[in-house]
């Protein structure tokens, strides 16, 4: 925090938050595509 009471820095928190949110969304999307594909294969067989 600087003399005016403004938070400075904090890049590591921004990186962590975006990595978790985007990583979570990406991982869920990929896993969902595989789960749907597997279920459609089971349905067809």
């Amino acid at each position: 925090m600087n003399m005016d009471g403004v938070l400075v820095g904090g890049t590591e928190y921004i990186v962590a938050a975006y990595a978790i949110v985007w990583g979570g969304l990406f991982a869920y999307g990929i896993s969902l595509m595989f789960r749907v594909k597997k279920s459609e294969q089971e349905k067809a067989s």
Partner: protein
Amino acid sequence: MNRARLIDTGLLLLASTLLGFGAYHALSVAPPERYMGEVYRILYVHVPSAWSALIAFTVTFAANIAYLWKSRPGADALAEASAEVGLLFCGLLLASGSIFARPTWGVWWQWDPRLTTAAIMFFAYAGYMALRQFVTDPEKRATWSAVVGILIFVDVPIVYFSVKWFGAGLHQLPSSPQTTSPALVTALRLNAFAFLALYGWFLRLRYRLARNNQTHESMEPPAVRTA
């Protein structure tokens, strides 16, 4: 390509494009906030996660009512799909909120009304999904989870209004475009629509999975289903 796949692909493209523009605006175009400096940029993924979770749980609630009213398996599948996607967004909401809290409030977690009710919401819907795994009979599962889904939805409006009803804790009061600098609003809108498009894409895929599972279950012999 059939119509359903075309819509799925369109939603994914829309979400990816909006996420790209949203990230660019959130991390590069939007100026630092007066007091929070750069750290406030976490809010561009935190707030859309919250809105998406609340929308998802509201869709689950509506689908639960629809199931109890009409007993249609499609409504049960929609409730399951939206609850799982909502749980994902709620988990991301809590994680990003905790990371935001550390540099701005000095703590990772506080039993503030908004945070506490959001945590209750997360664990309630985790329990809802667990219930769906434990009950093997499809009709009992759909009925019981619909009742539970309606009961736990009580917490959703409480989460939304908690900062107004229970007084200000550490969590700030809701902002609006009238109280926020226009320079900050564009990035939030882009990310909000990106998350909404992602929610739509996830929901469609998860609904299809739930319907396929229902078809698979209906083909199993009853002895296997009730075991």
